[in-house]
Symmetry: C2
Subunit: 585 residues, 2 copies
């Protein structure tokens, strides 16, 4: 891995803190150019600043404010015949960039500037000697910088400085020791694809305005359905803005399938609907029920076993109970990979019950879906092929950049019927191409961001086998962590047994608590341990891992691994760091 | 403006078609380097391919497959001591990039490769001599390329080729002659900011994982509320995945304000709710009503005048009618900038009615909100300050890259109460910083994409006055178009009078129809004119403009201008092109 200063692109002070307080951004990136290779640097700088003047060599203390560049005019004529004057680089503004005439040269220089800042950040993200976060409290950040929006423009030097400042205080989510969320890591091909997506700057509603992206969505969703196990990859689907919305889609479609009149008549025309999901399931099921007018009271939480898996007998009991009350069970949402425990509900048993009572079976595999890519681990989702719909977020376990969440639906056409409104200004029926590719009307959104390209390009670059290696590696690391701490002094596991996903849940018990009786006082003191260690982790910036209470269990650490940059040494480091930061508590 | 071959970065065959059929991607970007400046090119190429071999000069016909580069290993050791071998560039894979040890050098080269492809596309986007679109039918694209996803990885040369192919067939949405959607243009600062957002790769739920972005959202939403006219910018808001979702939020919050029990009890516990919006409003109001369990039958469409503005007396009549039936009017959604006509509903009159009947007033200013930045045009939204909520999409009239849509709410705390589910694993209450910045629980989503940074950075770069100039310029161009065609032979306006927004709606009447009587046959023939002209525009790739029928009006062109790259000459070109492509119909 990169060590500081060793790479040909590594440069500048740690975290760029010097740069962000110093307006010499042009100088900073000239320094980048200087380091590109010894010989080329000066010429690149000369090109940047104009041929007339050469900037101070790297390390010079004078910012190159006097350096000149051709200014761009803002006229409409083509070709432009305006007289060009030399101006200070710090006085170039957004209006000097394309589409300004003569804007090509400053635009390319500016975008290359930005890119150099981003490349520096990318390299640092993987460098263990840099901090995961340079933490500041909100009031500190608000006082230290002026973030306000004003009437007058700022120059491009200031704009580049804002980019540096923003990244200085950002979390390095690709850092090998960032374990805080289900989405971690920074995939280079995914990143490149996301840059391309931004540059293409279009919307997903029609083939007309997003021909390739629409086709790639078709190809990719079909492939995902094949992997789920639906015959021939048939069915439907969409990329939505996150797992919560995907789950809400599932709920909407299940309701529409049973009572299509809901679209026109609303919930008032329906009997009381009941959805079932486990007590460990994601809160988006309740959020969706609140939004859809179903109400959170109509989401019944089914009991879990000690590993966090839904208990099928309790599900059946609660279904019968609802039916006896005259309510209509319409959806069971099983979870494949719960947020905290990483548990997989028993999908086959759930599928049997759904079949018996004719209830829509949804599988929330937002977190666990990635395991379908692994021949070793996909058995944990056995039965997913019997689901009516599946949420699967490639931006979690598969390391695709945020955001990329798919809802897959087994029955074709249902989404379209549920959501279409026939807006004639968007979905004209007399176009000159095959209208089946105009998929926008099946979305809840109108304009829809292009989320597919990064997944598609990563899939091409890694192959299914590459995703498999990624998943297998992360699960192996989780098992490594589990094996280290399960019998280690000062640790208690929240549940017994080998982790099924990469979630490892544990308490760290500081020495002062180890001899205490298991009573309320100990629980109260233990509940404060994880928050303090976490706060210290963030202040040191060395690593980040999540904690939370759950049910009657006080605050415990929930370790998850989805970043392929992490290694065994990083797991060792985490344990050492928890002990270093928590031993005095 | 750039003309082909004139810029120092312009290169390659038109549309890059040669490149995409030829795997010599490395060669292509080396050609870029060659053109950067005469002297530096060779050295850059030498760096890229490794010092040992130099690629063929620009124009050489042999792809540089033999060019060597240090390969990266994939071990865990640090520092890495693996023996390095020279491999063919075409055999580098994603696994050779960071976080692979020794991955820094290939990563930087690869990302720079991608960037060069993107920069080439950016320059071409503004070049009028390139096509807006290189149109192919879906079956052609599907047959010409293999887009399928496979088990095995592809090498990085192929990945770069996919980037070129994808852009070859993309719509150049920043092209000065792309008028097809409400969102057009490609802002250079916005693009840079979106690249940075991708690189930071984080989520919006907490300050913990997005400190700067969370603060910038706070600052930016407050500024938008100030501009709307709410005292001190107080209130609430969120960036959501598009205007349709923003409108749905408004509906949800209005419902919750009146009947907070809906969250737990659902719609079954409520009387029948009725929403009102104009017959010209966006279809997302009905989509939202269908999703929320209100039902599309409960969305009453209010009549519009001949300019597409809601008629207040009809609104009041329908409200009284609903009340007489025992229904509960809960929301009026007025539109500020309708999709087709660009009409502004009379907000002051609507506000009076909402006040009188105690109904939530929402303003859908997704399209028209940008006019609030213009001292000359903001009077068209007079009364917006009396709204309870406002949808405002900076990705439309303000030219911010997709997507960037804000919902602003006048009452603080309502969003949080409506949507929060208290997920303890995400929103821990015992953190070490001010929790008021953990705004995720007010969202319908869980993870939420960072949409604010591009708007914030553009605002810094342009200033409010820069957005004002952008808006004023686009409206001036629309008036220019209107003045040309209103009395021109072969044109009929869909409605009379100067456009209020940049929407100009018109029929082009080919010579063969000009002498026909105004009867059904003429209407039938006229309805086919715009689709044929549009299809020809796309096949030639010269320009794109939308068309649609509306009510009893057959297909007409809806011209809109939101791209600051467009000039008077582009408007002239559009008219000439319509006449060239339509004269034989």
């Amino acid at each position: 891995m990169a060590s500081p200063g060793s790479g040909f692109w590594s440069f500048g002070s740690e975290d760029g803190s010097g740069d962000s307080e110093n307006p010499g951004t042009a100088r900073a990136w000239c320094q980048v150019a200087q380091k590109f290779t010894g010989g080329i640097g000066n010429k690149l700088c000369a090109l940047l600043y104009g041929d007339a003047e050469k900037p101070a060599e790297s390390g010079g203390s004078q910012p190159p404010r006097a350096a000149a560049r051709k200014a761009a005019c803002a006229c409409d004529q083509k070709p432009c015949s305006c007289s060009k004057v030399d101006v200070n680089y710090a006085f170039l503004h957004a209006t000097d960039l394309l589409p300004a005439c003569d804007g090509e040269r400053p635009t390319l220089a500016f975008l290359q500037d930005v890119m150099n800042i981003l490349l520096q950040y990318v390299v640092k993200s993987f460098d263990r000697s840099t901090k995961v976060i340079d933490f500041h409290y909100p009031n500190e950040l608000l006082q230290e910088y002026n973030w306000e929006l004003a009437d007058q423009p700022q120059n491009l030097e200031e704009i580049l400085m804002h980019c540096q400042t923003t990244l200085k205080y950002a979390i390095k989510t690709g850092h090998p020791r960032y374990f805080n969320q289900l989405s971690t890591g920074l995939d280079m091909v995914g990143l490149a694809a996301d840059w391309l997506t931004s540059t293409a700057n279009t919307n997903m509603f029609t083939y007309e305005i997003a021909p390739v992206f629409v086709l790639l969505e078709y190809v990719t969703l079909k492939k995902m359905r094949e992997i789920i196990g639906w015959p021939g990859g048939s069915g439907d689907g969409i990329f939505s803005p996150g797992g919560a919305i995907s789950n809400m889609y599932a709920m909407m479609i299940a309701r529409f399938k049973m009572f299509p009149e809901v679209k026109e008549k609303g919930m008032a025309a329906l009997p009381r609907l009941i959805a079932f999901t486990s007590e460990h399931s994601h809160f988006s099921l309740k959020k969706g029920a609140a939004a859809l007018g179903i109400g959170t009271d109509s989401v019944i939480l089914i009991k879990c076993d000690e590993r966090g898996k839904m208990i099928p007998s309790d599900l059946e009991r609660r279904i019968l109970e609802a039916k006896q009350k005259g309510f209509v069970p319409f959806l069971v949402s099983a979870t494949a990979g719960t947020t905290v425990y990483g548990a997989f509900d028993p999908l086959l048993a759930v599928a049997d019950i759904c079949k018996k009572y004719k209830i829509w079976m949804h599988v929330d595999a937002a977190w666990g879906g990635g395991l379908l890519m692994s021949r070793k681990h996909k058995w944990k989702l056995s039965g997913v092929e019997r689901a009516n719909s599946v949420t699967w977020n490639p931006h979690k376990m598969m390391g695709v950049p945020l955001q990329c969440s798919a809802l897959l639906v087994r029955e074709e056409g249902l989404m379209q019927n549920c959501n279409q409104m026939h807006a004639s200004y968007l979905f004209q029926q007399d176009k000159h191409y095959d209208l089946s590719y105009d998929t926008g009307d099946k979305a809840l959104q109108c304009g829809r961001h292009v989320d597919v390209f990064k997944l598609w390009l990563m899939w091409r670059a890694k192959g299914t086998t590459g995703f498999e290696a990624h998943v297998d590696k992360c699960l192996e690391l989780a098992e490594y962590l589990y094996n280290i701490i399960k019998n280690r002094e000062g640790y208690e596991m929240v549940f017994d047994g080998k982790p099924q996903h990469t979630n490892v849940c544990f308490w760290y018990i500081p020495p002062s608590l180890r001899t205490l009786e298991d009573n309320e006082e100990r629980m109260s003191r233990l509940s404060k341990v994880a928050p303090v260690i976490k706060a210290r982790m963030m202040e040191y910036g060395t690593t980040m891992v999540s904690y939370q209470p759950l049910g009657d269990k006080v605050n415990f650490f929930r370790m998850v691994i989805s970043n392929p940059a992490a290694t065994h040494q990083d797991i060792d480091f985490l344990i050492e760091e928890i002990e270093r930061l928590g031993q005095d508590l």
